[in-house]
């Protein structure tokens, strides 16, 4: 392993290397190049693409991408009820056994007022200008997807599966219609329906759920989004059928229900 990238919008420290805990916990070599990706829900794909670039320059290496997030807002904020928590990890090499990355493209625009935190704040908020915020999501995701499709000379309908950043259950549907994707392409990766908004982990947990069920030669389009605002679109082709020993669906089904009082205590909102 020669590269490790860790992504989260909710790191335990404002300043301190985060990936060092992961590297030490896994017993990876100390001479590994690490990077922490944070401040945007796009951080997950940002970490993935940093590793893709590393492997382009170091074809013999292996790279570990991990994303873990648990976005937090005030219990009084309308943003809060949809928030979830999740994590995913991928190992990349130039001879991939699960899927290969066929191309990627990005889109960045200046935007604000949607999902942000000041330097001293630990709770998310937005200014509640909904249409204005949605416009940012729609133009960034469609921008990245459009560039990638023309790069690869493909149509939206050519992909068997598509995964979009899922800040809620509604926006991916609107964006996919704009891009030219249809709902049946989204089904396998729509993890927000049972896991909520996973922040930086949203797109990559969705991608993991797709790879759990995808068949050999299936094509997958994954599009992240982070407020501020930017999107990465990644095209993959599945290399072989597999029977995953751990699946997103099975992990999500292993659950305990909490009542709201227990939840408020766990969030340290009640003492």
């Amino acid at each position: 392993m020669s590269r490790c990238a860790l992504a989260s919008t909710t790191p335990p420290y404002g300043e301190k290397l985060l990936s060092s805990s992961l590297v030490t916990g896994l017993g990876l070599p100390n001479d590994i190049l690490v990077s922490d990706h944070t401040t945007s829900t796009r951080a997950g794909t940002e970490a993935l693409l940093a590793c893709v670039e590393h492997l382009a320059a170091n074809p013999d290496g292996h790279a570990l991408v991990a994303v873990a997030d648990a976005p937090i807002a005030s219990l009084l904020d309308p943003l809060e009820h949809g928030l979830g928590a999740g994590a995913a990890a991928f190992v990349l090499s130039t001879n991939g056994s699960i899927a290969s990355i066929e191309g990627h493209a990005s889109h960045v625009i200046e935007h604000f007022g949607e999902r942000f935190r000041g330097p001293e704040e630990d709770r998310l908020h937005d200014l509640g200008i909904r249409k204005f915020s949605e416009e940012s999501y729609l133009s960034a995701t469609a921008g990245a997807a459009g560039t990638l499709l023309s790069q690869l000379r493909r149509k939206p309908g050519d992909f068997v599966h598509a995964v979009l950043q899922q800040p809620d259950a509604r926006l991916p549907g609107i964006a996919s219609a704009k891009i030219g994707l249809s709902n049946h392409q989204l089904v396998a990766g729509l993890v927000s329906a049972y896991l909520g908004d996973l922040g930086a982990a949203s797109t990559l947990v969705g991608l993991a759920a797709v790879l759990d069920v995808a068949k050999r030669n299936d094509t997958v389009l994954a599009i992240s989004y982070g407020s501020g605002a930017g999107s990465d679109a990644i095209a993959l082709r599945v290399a072989g059928d597999r029977r995953p020993s751990v699946s997103v669906r099975a992990e999500a089904a292993r659950k305990d229900y909490l009542d709201y009082l227990q939840y408020a205590k766990l969030r340290r909102a009640l003492r």
Binding site: P12, T24, G25, L266
Partner: protein, 139 residues
């Protein structure tokens, strides 16, 4: 347990993150945490570093209830209620203490198969202390 200073905690990071133990070359005894002298045969120098599997069985257990948690675990107890702790006999031999997690206290039994996972344990002096907790092993 009381205050563990940051330098003291830092020195034990290999044990806490990856269960690094010492194995005596003379008699094969496994020491966790690593010791300077083998308690079994008195060997003082010939040790190998090994990583423990984290797998084992519950040797004994107790429930830490309201008010009885050590100060560093008081916040956890307030937030999520009473929690079980156990002495776990690892497959390599050592018996070690840790929290059992993702399990209800009343479902814990002596002899249950468990395995260690790296978890956030508590926070002191603004430093997150990671270490192992035990979860039920599948099968």
């Amino acid at each position: 347990m009381a205050h563990v200073s940051v330098p003291m905690y830092w020195r034990s990071v290999p044990q806490r993150y990856r269960l690094i133990a010492n194995k005596c070359r003379t008699c094969g005894y496994v020491m966790f945490p690593p010791k300077a002298v083998c308690p079994s045969c008195g060997e003082r120098a010939a040790f190998d570093e090994i990583g423990l599997s984290g797998r084992g069985t519950v040797y004994s257990f107790a429930t830490i209830a309201a008010g009885s948690a050590p100060p560093e675990f008081a916040d956890q107890e307030r937030a999520s209620g009473p929690y079980p702790i156990a002495v776990v006999e690892l497959v390599e031999g050592p018996r070690i203490t840790g929290q059992l997690t993702d399990v209800d206290s009343k479902d814990v039994r002596i002899g249950m198969s468990v395995r260690a996972e790296l978890r956030r344990i508590y926070e002191e002096e603004g430093v997150v202390r990671y270490g192992f907790k035990f979860i039920l092993a599948e099968g």
